[in-house]
């Protein structure tokens, strides 16, 4: 192993060497630079590897052959090595990225770059306070120099502002250093003795040093200068500024904090969280991509500062957590800046240009996901552990603030991603193979570190999960035609079902069937798609992977990871839809919000346990159990779109593609249901403030069931109608679950199955109609029955099943429902359910009537039957519904007996095909027999009497003794339930919607107002800086007294 000092020596040496090269040979200069950076990176990496694998121990590097503190010494531990690698690698890649501009400005610029990287490494390794100052100043000067790389003239002003600010900082720092020296008689960091906060010399000196170093982290709100640099500097440099400088400065703070003692850690943590929240909030109002990235960087660094503040509480996991966040931030942020170098215009929506090159879109997605801490990236593990620690310490409010801010950040980033995928940009992409290659390398590094963090996690390594890899496999395969990929996908799902099905309890088994096999069936419809259908299969399979893993998950970690997978996958799926940008955004926002609720819930429940098996939820101490219950329930209810948290659903389901809608509606919603199943199975009834929470759930379910149905009846858009009806159906299921009795659960399960079948059927049918008529508005259709008979049949069967009219399976659900409510002592919520029942007829009839019956429009006369592949699954479902109606036992019996083991009762007696409860009987076969017989008899009778009826055109009608004018005016469809609306319209008032939009407006308003703080005047920035210092000082001292 070479001495790490070589990193510094190589950097400096090369910088000086450049001056000796011939004036003309800029190329050679560039190669020297890159070579030196490569050497530095290699040394750093080799140390990282060696230290990580335990081949060597941390090394102390003495200078001048004297012991510290008398001579400057440097240290290379694992943290130092890792950070130096980050710094040098960023430098190396950015050097390549900035090649053209470096050559333009000549070797002076290259020398500056070298010195910058050298100084950053030095700042990380040195253990001497004053030496730290020297390196800081080097960084400042080098930064001021590299800002000039930008062709943007405004960069000049930004650089000057930066200089002004850093002058103030260095004044503070020097005073602090000299008095610290006076207090400790040494400049060596390791000799700094712990000082409590106080108004005496030593502690004031420590305050000055710390605040100066923290100011280098661009804390909110004293960071306008940094944002200006981010906005105007060369993206290649911004990458360094964000990834490398940020990391180095953070480590400097950490080094001093580690010595300074707990009081100061708290201070840092405070500044950290304020910065994290403030920056992310202000980012909401940004439209300039690089400035947005700047805000995000500030936020991320604030977050890590917060973690550093918690270092001593985190103990061993500190490096893991901070490192995870840091490396994710570094890679993602650098990657994004590099990408921004390839985008010509600076508005967020201009990133739409990326679509010219699918690879870049994928990279964009990767970096965004990495930044938001989605699995399998390091930040995910880090957030997981961090929240767990917070929960164990009982720092609940901090946890809440942190999660909310993280949610805002995610919203900002995904809004951006949505724009990139949905908007259109006037400018074309600035194609540069180097840039693309560099971004690819960054992504590769991302995967690598993900693997490392997964290995260290102590949980399972997510990135090695087969389903995930299978989903990712479709990225390279995307060049194949869609059909081949479809075959692969279906095969994969079936295979996964086959290997995981064994050893599951019937409940999970049913859900596995719905989620995985159901997925395979629905994918049949995807055969309809022609061409390549880029970017469909990875998200789809990611979603199914998530659901497959969800059902088989055993620990809270697996559960949560699976949850995130399916959330993200479905988000990308939904985003594919025609006008789905805003809906996809609200979907991901709500879903992530729910996910964070889950995270918090699990963290509180785990209470410090490294791995927390799901079934331990039953042993959560009663002190915290109710809160865990509330959090988890909230998370799951967001997925099932209970009233109040439902506003994301209609848009998301309605705007999705033809074969996606059934997936996200028929299958995805079951994930939330499954979660509730597990939750209630493990935790049972919980009381909070004397309120039985399951009763709250009952009410919520009933409310959703009713309101959902009513709203559905008022929709003009067929898919929205179905979406609202999903809310209603899920309401029934939640209601059944919350009844907390055997039949209630059976009911819920029945709904899960039925809803999957008929909702998938209906969405496919409506989708098929849309394929042909190119509209989703029902009043524009009509009379399609003769043109699309099969679709009509499936809708007919679907709505009969759904409305619960005998003989189809829906009736079974109703029957179980009545028996269920007979065996509970809740009364009032039933009223809502009773009201919801008939309302179902309203929207169902409207669906079938306004599409298939009534008058056929002239422009639709040539409509053809829906495509075969879209019909096929429908027909399968029809067959299933009919058989399930006659023989419900084939699924229900096993589950029934299983639930029996949970509740220890057997309310249902299965004799043959007959079901008996203590209240009544359900004899499906007999019902079928009677109805079929009567029907046939009557039918024959009619034919006998009426065989010679003359077929007339549909328009051959008379009313009010007049021939109607034309179909368009004759088809009664728009606002179909006008009278009902007159009576019940008040239920339409968008309470939830206005509430949530109010929240978002409030946030945006705050952001827009607050950012006016950054006047752009360098002097003002300096004033703000001083103000910040004073404020922190007063707060700190105030905290003392």
């Amino acid at each position: 192993m070479v001495n790490p000092l070589l990193i510094l020596a190589a950097g400096l040496g090369a910088a000086f060497l450049l001056g000796l090269l011939r004036e003309t040979s800029e190329r050679a200069a560039f190669h020297t630079t890159v070579g030196a950076l490569a050497v530095m990176a290699f040394v750093a990496l080799s140390w990282t590897v060696a230290l990580a694998s335990g081949q060597t121990d941390p090394v102390e590097m003495l200078t001048a052959g004297a012991k510290p503190p008398f001579a400057i010494n440097l240290r290379t531990g694992i943290a130092e090595a890792a950070l130096t690698s980050v710094v040098t690698l960023t430098g190396l890649l950015s050097a390549f990225f900035m090649r053209r501009d470096l050559l333009r400005l000549g070797r002076r610029a290259m020398a500056v770059l070298l010195v910058l990287i050298m100084a950053l490494s030095g700042l990380i390794m040195t253990r001497d306070l004053f030496n730290m100052f020297v390196f800081l100043e080097l960084i400042v000067i080098a930064t001021a120099g590299l800002v000039l790389l930008s062709k943007d003239t405004r960069a000049l002003a930004a650089g000057f502002k930066y200089l002004v600010v850093s002058q103030v900082i260095s004044i503070l720092l020097l005073i602090g250093i000299i008095f610290t020296y006076h207090a400790n008689g040494s400049l060596n960091i390791d000799d700094i003795s712990e000082v409590p906060m106080g108004a005496n010399g030593a502690s004031l000196a420590m305050f000055l040093v710390l605040i100066a170093l923290i100011l280098e982290l661009k804390p909110f709100p004293a960071n306008g200068w940094a944002l200006d640099i981010y906005e105007s500097a060369h993206p290649g440099f911004s990458a360094i500024f964000s990834a490398a400088s940020g990391s180095a400065a953070l480590f400097a703070v950490y080094k001093v904090l580690a010595m300074a003692g707990p009081d100061w850690a708290l201070l840092a943590a405070g500044i950290g969280i304020v910065t994290f929240v403030g920056a992310n909030l202000l980012a909401l109002a940004q439209t300039h991509d690089r400035r947005l990235l700047g805000y995000s960087s500030v936020g991320q660094i604030g977050l890590i500062l917060l973690v550093i503040g918690f270092a001593d509480r985190l103990g061993d996991s500190f490096l893991y957590i901070a490192g995870g966040l840091l490396v994710s931030h570094a890679i993602a942020k650098a990657g994004l800046f590099w990408l921004s170098g390839m985008v010509k215009a600076r508005d967020l929506s201009d990133w739409a240009a990326l679509r010219e090159n699918p690879v870049l879109v994928v990279l964009f997605a990767v970096f965004i996901a990495m930044l938001t801490g989605l699995p399998p990236f390091p930040a995910f593990y880090a957030k997981w552990s961090f929240v767990h620690v917070l929960a164990t310490d009982g720092a609940y409010s901090l946890m809440a603030v942190f999660l909310i801010a993280a949610l805002i950040e995610a919203t900002v980033l995904f809004r951006w991603f949505g724009m990139a995928l949905k908007r259109s940009s006037g400018h074309s992409l600035h194609i540069s193979l180097t840039g693309e290659a560099i971004a690819l390398i960054a992504a590769a590094l991302a995967i690598a570190v993900s693997w490392v963090w997964g290995n260290l996690s102590g949980q399972e390594n997510l990135i090695t999960l087969v389903p995930l890899l299978f989903a990712l496999l479709f990225l390279p395969l995307d060049i194949l035609p869609a059909r081949i990929k479809n075959v692969l996908a279906i095969a994969g799902l079936v295979f996964w079902f086959a290997v995981t099905k064994n050893g599951l309890d019937p409940l999970r088994y049913v859900f596995l069937i719905i989620m995985v096999l159901g997925g395979a069936i629905l994918l049949l419809a995807s055969f309809h798609a022609t061409g390549r259908r880029m970017g469909f299969y990875t998200p789809a399979l990611l979603m199914f992977a998530g659901m497959g893993l969800l059902v088989t998950s055993e620990t809270s970690f697996q559960f949560f990871a699976a949850w995130e997978f399916l959330t993200v996958g479905s988000y990308f799926l939904i985003l594919r839809g025609q006008d789905s940008e805003p809906h996809a955004l609200s979907y991901i926002t709500f879903s992530l919000g729910g996910a964070f609720a889950l995270l918090a819930g699990f963290a509180i429940a785990a209470n410090g346990a490294p791995t927390f098996p799901i079934e331990n939820l039953s042993e959560v101490p009663s002190r915290i159990a109710p809160y865990v219950f509330v959090l988890l329930a909230a998370g799951f209810l967001t997925k099932t779109a209970v009233m109040g948290l439902h506003i994301w659903l209609p848009g998301a389901h309605a705007e999705a593609e033809t074969d996606v809608s059934p997936m996200v509606s028929g299958i995805l919603l079951k994930a939330g249901l499954f979660g509730l199943f597990v939750l209630l199975m493990e935790m049972g009834r919980q009381e909070l403030f004397g309120v039985d929470l399951t009763i709250v759930l009952v009410w919520l379910g009933a409310l959703s069931a009713f309101i959902g149905a009513v709203l559905s009846a008022f929709q003009e858009d067929a898919k929205r109608l179905l979406a609202y009806s999903s809310i209603s159906q899920m309401g029934y299921a939640v209601f059944g679950l919350a009844l907390m009795n055997h039949l209630g659960w059976l009911l819920a399960l029945m709904f899960a199955i039925n809803h999957f079948v008929y909702k998938s059927m209906l969405f496919l049918a409506v989708g098929g109609v849309k394929e042909r008529t190119h509209t989703k508005l029902m009043y524009k259709m009509g009379g399609l029955i003769t043109l699309m008979p099969f679709t009509f049949v499936s809708v007919l069967v679907g709505i009969i099943a759904m409305s619960g009219v005998p003989p189809l399976s829906g009736f079974g659900g109703r029957w179980i429902f009545y028996n269920a409510i007979m065996s509970t002592d809740l009364r009032l919520p039933m009223i809502l359910i009773f009201m919801a029942g008939p309302v179902g007829f309203l929207y169902l009839f409207r669906l079938i009537h306004t599409i298939f019956l009534g008058q056929l429009k002239d422009e639709l006369r040539l409509t053809k039957e829906a495509p075969f592949w879209i019909l096929l699954p429908q027909m399968l479902f029809v067959g299933f519904l009919l058989s399930f109606a006659i023989l419900p036992g084939m699924i229900l019996r096993r589950v029934d007996s299983y639930i029996g083991t949970l509740f220890g009762d057997t309310p249902l007696v299965w004799t043959g095909k007959i079901v008996d409860s203590q209240y009544g009987t359900w004899n499906p076969v007999a019902i079928w027999g009677v109805i079929a017989t009567v029907f046939v008899v009557v039918f024959i009778l009619l034919i006998w009497m009426n065989h010679n009826a003359q077929k007339v055109k549909q328009f051959n009608i008379v009313f009010s003794a007049e021939r109607p004018f034309k179909p368009q005016t004759t088809h009664f469809a728009w606002n179909f339930f006008a009278p009902y609306r007159k009576a019940m319209g008040f239920l339409e008032t968008p309470v939830a919607t206005s509430f949530w939009s109010g929240v978002s407006n409030m946030l945006h308003g705050t952001a827009d107002f607050t950012r006016k703080l950054y006047t752009g005047n360098g002097q003002t920035y300096a004033v703000q800086l001083l103000f910040f210092v004073i404020a922190v000082y007063l707060i700190a001292m105030g905290g003392l007294s």
Binding site: I141, G145, R154, A157, L163, V164, Q167, I171, Q1019, L1026
Partner: protein, 119 residues
């Protein structure tokens, strides 16, 4: 008031002057000058902290090595101040260069004229 205190006080006073000037003057050149004043103050504070009453400069041409520890002042701050001075000079030069470029770019030296980047 001892020598040390006097110099310390002067140092701090210079820092205030410098900072105040830098924060209240809009003219870039004036700001730069103010900063140099401030950093002079800082340097003064540096050496002052290193001073031990009644001792001599740490150069052992007249002082015997044996009795050095009793007779010389603290050499460290003097070493530090040198570095500080040089760095201050570097930054000042840089700021001047920037000022020149800014002036060329906008024909103005008023800091409040360079606020295209904001919010």
């Amino acid at each position: 008031m001892t020598l040390v205190q006097i110099s310390l006080a002067t140092g701090f006073a210079l820092i205030f002057l410098g900072l105040y000037g830098a924060l209240s003057n809009r003219n870039i050149l004036r700001m730069i000058v103010s900063f140099t004043i401030a950093s002079t103050g800082v340097n003064l504070v540096l050496v002052a902290v290193g001073y031990l009453p009644g001792r001599e400069a740490p150069i052992l041409d007249t002082i015997p090595v044996a009795s050095a520890a009793e007779r010389i002042t603290d050499p460290v701050p003097q070493a530090l101040v040198l570095t500080a001075i040089v760095i201050g000079l570097g930054v000042t030069a840089l700021m001047l260069a920037y000022a020149y470029r800014l002036f060329r770019a906008r024909g103005s030296l008023d800091i409040s004229d360079f606020t295209e980047l904001k919010w």
